[in-house]
Symmetry: C2
Subunit: 384 residues, 2 copies
């Protein structure tokens, strides 16, 4: 199949910011794309050849959307997998494969997969209903504090909560969930692994993530991680092991904990371009979105090394602001060295909503980190 | 004016590959854009908020298109300047300014501008009609060889010809033109200067250009130019002088000759992002398209330094091939280190048509140059 000539069609499920950034690459290579998203105002409504509005979770919508494409991919894992399986059976190349998505989409299954494959991860328990957690606490089967995670359809820090008392369980979704032992960790790390449909596999460097303590969202992503080379090597090897075991075609972002005694545990994975790889647009020889496209089209993978150090800051909606968005002081950050804002194009802001990100690159990582802090102190995502 | 919030509109005249690459930046910043192009199949028909089809040379079309935008820019200088002047009078910010475009659009005026401002350039003569050249040759006023250039609306090597005998004049456009003395030069160089509407000004590094001997199109652009630092400094200073004299807001690409005795002469200028700056997408801290947007919106200019060395190869249609395009061996070049193809999305190829370009980046310039040669030997732009 010649992707660079007419006739070929790529389908993308989801038209959020990840899809939008994927489309920079399909435009660069003039690859024909169609996008499905629930919202007519989705960030990637432009830049695709065809845009369709509809639910990613509806069998018929996804099936009908995917019938006439050559390759079908995702920018979000919460999609109807039955439809993907049927499409795969009928000859559409679905990457990542539905089989891999089944493992990842449900966090309980994801954890069981780690156990089955001897991949180190935090101890966990699985619950069919939230109410079972209360029973378990009463029976002494579960101690505070622990981390509660919804099994399916969590996103952007929604669906994860540190539980320190019974009161913290109030208001949580009542369905299937897991609880995890709180891991005292030195660092949160991530590695993006790319694997193409020919089996070629490459890892990006280890990045270090700093989380916002309340919103449970990444505040800074730092590449390369400021950790010992041996620890980095261990993290990269573990990410590669996970990717090889799952065997998916596309990108796999592997989030990990570095414990106090330098053990590496897998936290969770995402089967797509990931927030922890946004720095790559400005810093890497091959950015994660181009690499994703290379992977799913069976093209040779690009160089995952960095040209320069990179720090990424998420632009999230400020607390107390809901409504038409304003990016206050964006001109001030544009005057800082090596600063590139990305504005996703969501019209409405609300507290902690991901509205964009800013990448800071520099040949000196510490300088980039210092500028990133100034960026964070300067720009504000507020409402009009 | 807040460009990053709703309400602001940017108009772009021309929807070719330069406009297409400009739109990567407006999408990145979610800036509302409308594009005018003569072809409904223009490369930037996607990725803009509004696309209008119509002639860039027609007064009413351009005027009506520009009436409701806040800032109007161009990706090609062959546009109706009377319409731009009227729009400017009525309060639209037109960047680059029509006054500057008047100087540049006509090569005879451009040359007179150099003379008036003591900017070194090859000696030239101006002719209202092609037939006057023959008279001048007969009278001994003009000697072979010389360079003929059409005064207006030349593009992509069209409109320039080395004339070695009367026979070479056959078939040339009959209208206004100039002739230039042939300059024996060591190198062709270029510098892109950016100037924002607040008067801030920055130059990109000097690049070196190798031309295809027959097609008169750039074959390799090499950044940084492999020349003596003093010569580079001289070229950068001259480019800055030209930009300051023209005083336009936006980008000015200044093409120059380095003569055998290391004099620098201005060849010609382009008031927009330029082929000689495409390397910047992968190699520079701030690419030329983002810099153009920063300039015309009065935003602080970005860092023009390079992260790594870059070499750019134009993808032009192979001789003997006209029709639906095929990019032969593109997978082979994707396997080479640091190689990024850009496919403009023109459905039809013809000999020497610019169909795309490939950038090769590397921390070592000589390696990038060697890989560029392999790219050039490998990929072929042919018809089906």
């Amino acid at each position: 199949m010649d992707y660079f000539s007419s006739g070929f069609k790529l389908g993308i499920l989801g038209g959020g910011q990840l899809g939008k950034m994927m489309l920079y690459e399909t435009r660069k290579w003039d690859i024909y794309t169609k996008v499905l998203d629930a919202s007519s105002e989705a960030p990637s409504r432009m830049s695709c050849n065809e845009f369709a509005q509809g639910s990613l979770l509806d069998f018929d919508t996804v099936y009908n959307f995917g019938k006439d494409v050559d390759v079908l991919t995702i920018e979000i894992e919460n999609v109807n997998l039955d439809a993907l399986e049927k499409l795969e059976d009928e000859g559409v190349k679905v990457y990542p494969q539905p089989k891999a998505l089944r493992i990842i989409q449900n966090k309980a299954k994801q954890k069981l997969f780690y156990v089955d494959n001897e991949i180190p991860t935090a101890d966990f328990q699985r619950f069919a209903y939230l109410s079972e957690i209360e029973d378990s606490i009463e029976n002494g089967g579960l101690q505070f504090p622990f981390v509660w995670k919804v099994a399916q359809f969590g996103y952007d820090g929604q669906g994860v909560k540190v539980v320190r008392s019974l009161a913290d369980l109030k208001g949580l979704p009542t369905g299937e969930c897991i609880t995890e032992v709180m891991i005292p960790f030195k660092n949160e790390l991530a590695v993006i692994v790319s694997r193409n449909s020919e089996g070629e596999i490459k890892t990006y460097p280890v990045v270090e993530m700093e989380f916002h303590p309340e919103a449970n969202q990444v505040e800074y992503v730092i590449c390369p991680a400021r950790i010992d080379d041996k620890v980095a090597e261990k993290a990269r090897a573990l990410a590669l092991k996970v990717a090889n075991k799952i065997g998916l075609t596309g990108l796999l972002a592997v989030e990990m904990f570095q414990t106090e005694d330098d053990k590496i545990l897998v936290n969770e994975v995402a089967p797509r371009p990931h927030n922890s790889g946004h720095y790559s647009i400005e810093a890497s020889y091959t950015n994660q979105f181009e690499q994703h496209i290379r992977s799913i089209l069976g093209l040779p993978l690009g160089n995952t090394d960095s040209k320069v150090a990179g720090v990424m800051v998420n632009l999230v909606g400020a607390e107390g602001h809901t409504g038409d968005v304003v990016y206050k002081n964006i001109e001030e950050i544009l005057a800082m060295e090596g600063v590139t804002p990305h504005i996703y194009g969501k019209a409405q802001t609300r507290p902690f909503r991901k509205m964009g990100h800013v990448t800071i690159v520099n040949s000196d990582l510490e300088k980039a980190r210092a500028i990133a802090e100034k960026v964070k102190e300067t720009i504000q995502v507020i409402s009009k």
